[in-house]
């Protein structure tokens, strides 16, 4: 088969090219190339530190809330406020981020991934009376099929009635995720790119009308997650069983933990959080997280080699396009010198490994339904399943948080902008561990560095030549048809890549 180049990889966020070398029907080499650099870390320099919260959201319109939270935590710590954030503000931040991520996982499964498995062409055979499906049938009959063709042809395995139902769910999910964004907007003004989260707290008061409206939209989303999303993931995983083995990857997983559950603790890494912080591997044993072990390599990235191997606190962003051997605008974050996968699988596995009883029951029961061992989590379908369970874990927590809000109590703590300082903000974005670091001098941003989930997952080789997690997941995969390389795009999309985030 030789070389397979997929450029652009679509139904992800941003600009990605995947190049593989195939020998004897198996991928021997894989290269992941991010093809858009904007230079956020350069644009942030010299600005008022408070503006980082607004500007970093624009790193990505799919994941703005998580950058908003990471930036606010970063600025809280730089301004000396990390232990002073009012409970109302902590909870509203959790609700804004939670609602955003619950809709985002739904978007990923239905609108970014499902067309790899679901053949909407089968709706042409639909004979029922559902008006939505009949409108799709009319659309198919008219014959102008963009954006659903062209596509890879061949490996669609679901029976016609399941394809029809899945198409109806694809359309229903568009409405459901829109409602998720209405929940975000309730407390945060608008979305994408919202204004409600600021250093020191949040801007809006938790009035009873907002709490009630949010609650019943949440119920709508929970109903969809429980009765449509999770059953659909299990059904597709049951038919595409080989994808419970394909795309296992590096099997090192890292989570920063997310959704603060306590007040007054200045140390982010030791704060009680819904998702736990830590690392784990194939043995699913929990290891403590040590932030000082994070470095970013650039030998194979289009940046000057002098900045390689630094901790993000001392990170630099100095473009050098065309550098010998380099092939991507992504840097290569590593933990303790090794490639680590981040994302829903990582935070679910770390929380599972920590012994959390709710998570343990949820994961064990899903695996039992698939008659699959825990090792099946390290796979394409394992990632989809973990994402769906992560979604339920967040959604089920939010109703309780809502009722902890105290309408007449503060949501914001006043502060003065410090002359100098440094900070760190860590959270779990939809796509995994997200970190922001800031250095302030003369009340301006002297340095701002972001290490973003897809920077970890879609990174190129590190200075030691070890491929990134997504590259490792592709290498070794059998390719059945080089003209329709389903295996590669299914592996890539299982990571839910966000390239605008990754490069920024």
């Amino acid at each position: 088969m030789g070389t397979i180049v997929i450029d652009p990889v679509t139904r992800i966020e941003g600009h990605l090219k995947i190049e593989t070398v195939v020998e004897d029907g198996k991928v021997k080499e894989a290269k992941s190339t991010g093809t858009l650099f904007r230079g956020f870390e350069l644009i942030l320099r010299g600005r008022d530190p408070r503006d980082a919260q607004i500007i970093t959201q624009r790193i990505c319109g799919v994941c703005p809330q998580s950058h908003g939270v990471a930036a606010a935590l970063n600025l809280d710590s730089a301004f000396g406020l990390a232990d002073k954030i009012p409970a109302n503000a902590r909870i509203i931040r959790n609700l804004i981020q939670g609602a955003h991520i619950v809709q985002d996982h739904i978007l990923h499964f239905y609108h970014l991934s499902a067309l790899d498995y679901v053949d909407i062409g089968d709706v042409a055979k639909y004979e029922g009376r559902d008006s939505t499906l009949n409108s799709v049938k009319d659309f198919l009959a008219r014959g102008e099929l963009g954006p659903f063709v062209p596509r890879y042809e061949g490996d669609y395995r679901l029976p016609p009635e399941v394809n029809q139902q899945a198409t109806a769910h694809y359309l229903k999910a568009l409405e459901i995720r829109r409602i998720g964004h209405e929940m975000v907007s309730t407390f945060s003004g608008k979305i994408p790119h919202s204004v409600g989260i600021v250093p020191g707290g949040v801007t809006s008061a938790p009035t009873v009308d907002k709490i009630t409206s949010f609650l019943w939209k949440l119920r709508t989303l929970q109903d969809f997650v429980d009765n449509t999303y999770i059953p659909d993931v299990l059904a597709i995983a049951g038919v595409y069983k080989d994808y419970l083995e394909i795309g296992s990857g590096c099997k090192n997983l890292l989570s920063y933990g997310g959704y603060d559950l306590e007040d007054g603790n200045p140390d982010l890494t030791r704060r009680q959080r819904l998702f736990r912080a830590g690392t784990t591997s194939a043995d699913l044993k929990l290891k403590a997280l040590d932030i000082s072990k994070i470095t970013e390599d650039v030998k194979y990235s289009w940046y000057q080699d002098t900045s390689s191997g630094r901790h993000p606190e001392q990170g630099e962003t100095k473009p050098e396009y065309g550098k010998r051997e380099a092939y991507s605008w992504l840097k290569s974050p590593r933990y303790d010198g090794r490639a680590y996968e981040v994302g829903p699988l990582a935070r679910v596995a770390v929380t599972y490994a920590s012994g959390d009883p709710v998570m343990k029951k949820m994961v064990d029961s899903a695996l039992a339904q698939l008659q699959a061992p825990p090792s099946a989590l390290f796979s394409v379908m394992g990632r989809h399943l973990a994402r769906a369970l992560s979604d339920k874990f967040i959604a089920d927590s939010m109703a309780g948080w809502l009722l902890e809000l105290k309408p007449r109590e503060p949501t914001f703590v006043e502060y003065t902008l410090p002359e100098e300082g440094s900070g760190m903000g860590l959270t779990e974005a939809a796509r995994g561990a997200l970190g922001h670091w800031i250095e302030i001098k003369e009340r301006k941003i002297a340095n701002y560095q972001c290490v973003v989930p897809t920077t970890w997952n879609a990174s190129p080789r590190d200075d030691g030549g070890i491929p990134g997690p997504m590259e490792q997941a592709i290498i070794g995969t059998k390719i059945r048809d080089g003209d329709n390389p389903f295996e590669i795009v299914r592996i890539v999309r299982s990571f839910d890549p966000c390239i605008a985030c990754a490069i920024h």
Binding site: V5, I6, D7, P8, V9, T10, R11, E13, G14, H15, K17, T35, L36, F37, R38, G39, I43, G46, D48, R50, D51, I54, I55, R58, C60, G61, V62, P64, H111, T132, S135, R142, E144, G146, P147, P150, R151, L171, R178, E182, V184, S185, F187, G189, K190, I191, P192, H193, V195, G196, V198, T203, S204, P319, Y321, G322, P410, T411, F412, V489
Partner: protein
């Protein structure tokens, strides 16, 4: 016979936020826009959209190039994002030709020349936005700046906002279908439709009475006008306070936060610091403002 309007949606130096905002369209829904006859008798045939389309790789690039050739003068080009023009590096590429990356500036040149019209969606495409902010590391230009320099005269409508409200996009498209290209009297100097960008935020703000009375919030959560917390409503043209966001749920000032001025060409450099009061406006004359480097209007 149903009229099919081919649409190519190009993502350049952007964040996909404009696309996600369009997914939030409530009436018409995104399903109405993609599948149904959005206006009876007309269907938008979305042939290329990186976030939505089923295909990947060379076949989708082929569709994009074929559409430009076969539907010359008849397709709509939607441009999301600014255009990196730096000669120092290939900062932005989409697909390949003969094994080499094709730069965004070359893609947009090829596609813009023969389009029926160009919708520059979002503040990056309309004005340069955040990728074009100081020090503008990749020399980003707006679609209008870039195409004017290339001598390409295809009509442009700017639909700024970071991101734009989905109604602004859907309404502009519906207007194109029903009434054809907008006349000069329907757009402002920044090529924004008056229909959506005709009034200042300040003119329709529910906190306007506080401003007129001189009652200003000093910190988040206070009652009062947000002017002293950095609100850019007095210089920002958009109908957010009337239309509201996310299916009528809320808007920035509604959440107790100042308007960031995100539909303006000044965003972000000339409206920064975002949480500092505007350099004094002659109060309370609507529409009058002064910013560094800008004449009084």
């Amino acid at each position: 016979m149903i009229k099919e309007i081919p649409v190519i949606w190009l993502q350049m130096s952007a964040c996909t936020g404009c696309t996600i905002s369009l997914l939030n369209s409530a009436s018409p829904t995104i399903k109405n826009l993609l599948i149904d006859q959005v206006i009876p008798g007309t269907h938008l045939n979305l042939r290329f959209h990186p976030t939505v389309m089923a295909g990947a790789g060379a076949p989708v690039i082929e569709i994009m190039e074929d559409t430009a050739r076969e539907k010359s003068g008849a397709y709509l080009l939607v441009a999301e994002g600014a255009i990196p023009t730096s000669e120092e590096a290939v900062f932005g590429a989409i697909g390949e030709r003969d094994g080499k990356p094709v730069e965004m500036k070359d893609r947009v040149t090829d596609l813009a020349r023969h389009a029926l019209a160009i919708l520059a969606v979002g503040t990056c495409a309309a004005f340069g936005g955040i990728p074009g902010a100081t020090p503008n590391p990749t020399r980003c230009l707006s679609v209008r700046q870039f195409l004017e320099a290339q001598g390409i005269t295809t009509p442009i409508v700017n639909i700024p906002g970071c991101p734009p409200h989905p109604d602004w996009f859907a309404g502009t498209v519906a207007s194109l279908i029903l009434n054809g290209l907008p006349g000069a009297d329907e757009l402002d100097d920044n090529l924004r439709p008056h229909l959506f960008y005709g009034k200042l935020i300040h003119e329709n703000c529910p906190r306007r009475a506080y401003f007129d009375e001189g009652k200003f919030a000093k910190k988040f959560g206070d009652e009062g006008c947000l002017y002293e917390l950095g609100c850019k409503g007095p210089i920002t043209y958009a109908d957010c306070p009337l239309r509201l966001w996310n299916n009528g749920t809320n808007w920035c000032v509604g959440a107790g936060a100042p308007c960031q001025g995100c539909t303006q060409p000044e965003f972000p450099d000339l409206v920064a610091p975002l949480y500092e009061k505007l350099v004094d406006v002659e109060l309370p004359v609507i529409g009058a403002y002064w910013l560094p480097g800008k004449e009084e209007k």
